[in-house]
């Protein structure tokens, strides 16, 4: 009986999801792009070049045989830079959303399960973060000199340090939305009979929260995490564009646009390519999240029926 219900739930979910054109297009686009980005090292190897190599004799080239998309203001291969930049931007989006999602899930579960003082403290904190002007605060956080916090200069000078820094900073401010959603679902699940049974069996709060409540609140977590990936990629691109996020020579789609504003008269393609990729990626994640939400909703309607 229970396996049959599970099967119809699943098939209802998948048929709804795969019958949404935007969902299928977004999923295919993202999979294809991730595949191309993962295969970039092979292309680099074939071209025997890398995205940081400066070639001042070949600046602002248009598309040619060697340079598929041409070169930038320092004669670097635009295609290679887009591939490497994409790897950085997407990794930040995925990793930061998972970290923020995990923090949000734990805090949301705690808040919803225990209620009372703990709940009001966590939620007051979340509300405050949500209501603050986030971008100016992120700018301050990214501008901090970490050596003043006792982090050795050797680490700070490592090329991927700025990537880690951005991931941590965005995760720290990204959790409240997910925490609120998880809390709201937990409040409903907590009243269910099986929680009473688990309590009667003498299970502790941590076991009940993670083994009994968590499996029943996965859909809002999946939806909110997917939707947050797009937002995080946008935040990363803005910060990198302003010169505070990913530091050159490491490329990200955001910092590739930094110089593009001054060069917009000289070479508009430098502004068009990275921006188009950010836009398409973010819209794909947003469509994906929206379709997941609709598919989960049909599933829950089917269960009720």
């Amino acid at each position: 009986m229970s396996t049959r219900i599970l099967k119809t739930q699943k098939s209802a979910f998948f048929s709804k999801f795969f019958n949404t054109p935007t969902a299928v297009i977004s999923l295919s686009f993202l999979s294809l792009m991730i595949l191309i980005i993962l295969l970039a090292p092979i292309y680099e190897h074939l071209r025997a070049a890398d995205s940081t190599r400066v070639d001042l004799f070949n600046r602002f080239l248009g598309p040619t045989g060697t340079y598929i998309l041409g070169t930038d203001e320092l004669g670097r291969d635009l295609m290679l830079r887009l591939l490497n930049g994409g790897e950085v931007s997407l990794s930040i989006g995925l990793i930061a959303s998972i970290i923020a999602g995990s923090i949000g899930t734990v805090l949301g579960l705690t808040s919803g399960y225990f209620g009372g003082k703990i709940d009001s403290i966590i939620m007051r904190f979340a509300d405050t973060i949500i209501s603050l002007p986030l971008l100016p605060l992120l700018i301050v956080l990214t501008a901090i000199d970490l050596s003043k916090l006792g982090i050795p200069q050797a680490y700070i000078d490592m090329p991927f340090f700025s990537t880690f820094k951005i991931i941590i900073i965005i995760s720290l401010v990204g959790w409240p939305t997910i925490a609120r959603l998880v809390r709201a679902s937990t409040l409903i699940v907590r009243e269910d009979d099986f929680i009473q049974v688990a309590l009667a069996q003498g299970y502790g709060p941590i076991r009940i929260m993670f083994k009994h409540v968590l499996p029943n609140v996965t859909s809002p977590i999946i939806v909110a995490t997917t939707l947050s990936i797009g937002n995080i990629i946008l935040f990363e691109s803005v910060l990198s564009f302003l010169g505070l996020g990913i530091q050159p020579p490491v490329a990200s789609w955001g910092n590739m646009l930094t110089g593009a504003q001054e060069l917009i008269y000289e070479d508009p393609k430098l502004a068009i390519w990275p921006g188009t990729l950010i836009f398409l990626t973010v819209i794909a994640f947003n469509f994906l999240g929206d379709s997941l939400q609709r598919a989960f909703r049909t599933r829950s309607i089917q269960i009720i029926n």
């Binding site: 949500i130 986030l134 100016p136 700018i139 301050v140 956080l141 501008a143 803005v238 564009f241 836009f279």
Partner: protein, 320 residues
């Protein structure tokens, strides 16, 4: 109600106080300190002067002590000087606060003007071709990087067509109203784009929900004109959650304004905060950030008041 407003104001002041300490702490962690910057700009400075400056700026005292000194001065109305502009901080910030509020309120008005009818249309014509197009455009609007949108506008209207200025607030030597409006078109378009998309989605979702209510059926059964049903009966109720979302979203409107101001050299708060942090003008950054926080918190309180005014069922009095 009055009690509620006082309560919320006190809460907001506490948040503001906590934020001021937090930002003070963070700005202390910025690269370099004020003395280094002074030494950098004046290589002939003597070590006696250095010592004197260190005492003047209390740089060697613990952070809590410096914070207390700062807040005492701030409460007495002395907000200090800007290092970049060599002027009192408030002299720089007040005109810029005005510029930001102008930019934000014009964009907000435009966004509501577009989003409310569009949202109503989307809610009353589900699954129509136009509704699908609106939905797609809304997704595009919330997904486009705002600074890139600004770049595209500059590329289209300033570089290729050459009809709109790419930056600034007025042509030097002109400054007439038409000239100012001319300079405002691209910044307002950039800032309102994401806002329009977001608001349209909220209005549409809220309208869809309200239209399923029994009183809408009753209104239609009474033979009221559809226009009157939508605009008088449904919209009034649909706007209640929308007002809350708009006010709670004020922080992101400010973030959007920061990007827009930076892209178009619009002399507003957002650009000033960014320039102050990049230029190590920490006092200016501190006051700027606190003003931005104050603006957001005020918007949130106003949302709560508007919420109660729009919906007579909501009262903030304590239940006995």
């Amino acid at each position: 109600m009055i009690r509620f407003i006082i309560n919320r104001t006190c809460q907001s002041l506490v948040i503001l106080l906590v934020m001021s300490f937090f930002i003070f702490l963070l700005l202390g962690l910025m690269p370099g300190d004020p003395i280094d910057l002074l030494v950098g700009s004046n290589p002939t400075i003597s070590s006696d002067d250095l010592q004197r400056l260190k005492e003047l700026y209390d740089i060697e005292k613990p952070v809590l002590e410096r914070y207390l000194a700062w807040i005492t001065n701030a409460v007495h109305g002395d907000l200090g000087y800007s290092r970049l502009f060599a002027q009192p901080v408030m002299d720089i910030l007040s005109p810029r606060l005005f510029n930001s509020i102008t930019l934000m309120s014009v964009s907000l008005a435009l966004a509501l003007f577009v989003a409310i009818p569009t949202g109503i249309y989307a809610a009353t014509h589900p699954n129509s071709l136009l509704e699908k197009a609106i939905n797609f455009l809304c997704f595009a609007g919330i997904s486009i990087p705002p600074f890139w949108l600004a770049l595209l506008f500059i590329l289209l209207f300033s570089v290729f067509a050459g009809i709109l200025p790419a930056s600034g607030m007025e042509t030097i030597g002109d400054g007439s109203l038409i000239d100012r409006v001319h300079h405002m078109i691209l910044p307002v378009a950039t800032l309102s784009m994401a806002t329009i998309a977001g608001y349209t989605r909220h209005v549409s979702a809220s309208m869809t929900e309200v239209l399923q209510n029994d009183y809408i059926r009753t209104a239609r059964a009474k033979g009221l004109l559809e226009k009157s049903v939508l605009w008088r009966h449904a919209l009034k109720n649909a706007l209640i959650p929308v007002v809350t979302i708009i006010a709670l979203d004020f922080g992101s409107l400010f973030s959007g304004a920061l990007i827009t101001e930076t892209m178009f050299s619009w002399l507003g708060m957002g650009k000033t905060i960014y320039d102050a942090i990049i230029g190590s003008d920490y006092n200016l950054a501190l006051i700027g950030l606190l003003l931005a926080t104050l603006l957001t918190l005020t918007a949130n309180i106003m949302a709560d008041i508007a919420y109660a005014k729009l919906d007579p069922r909501i009262s903030y009095q304590k239940k006995n």
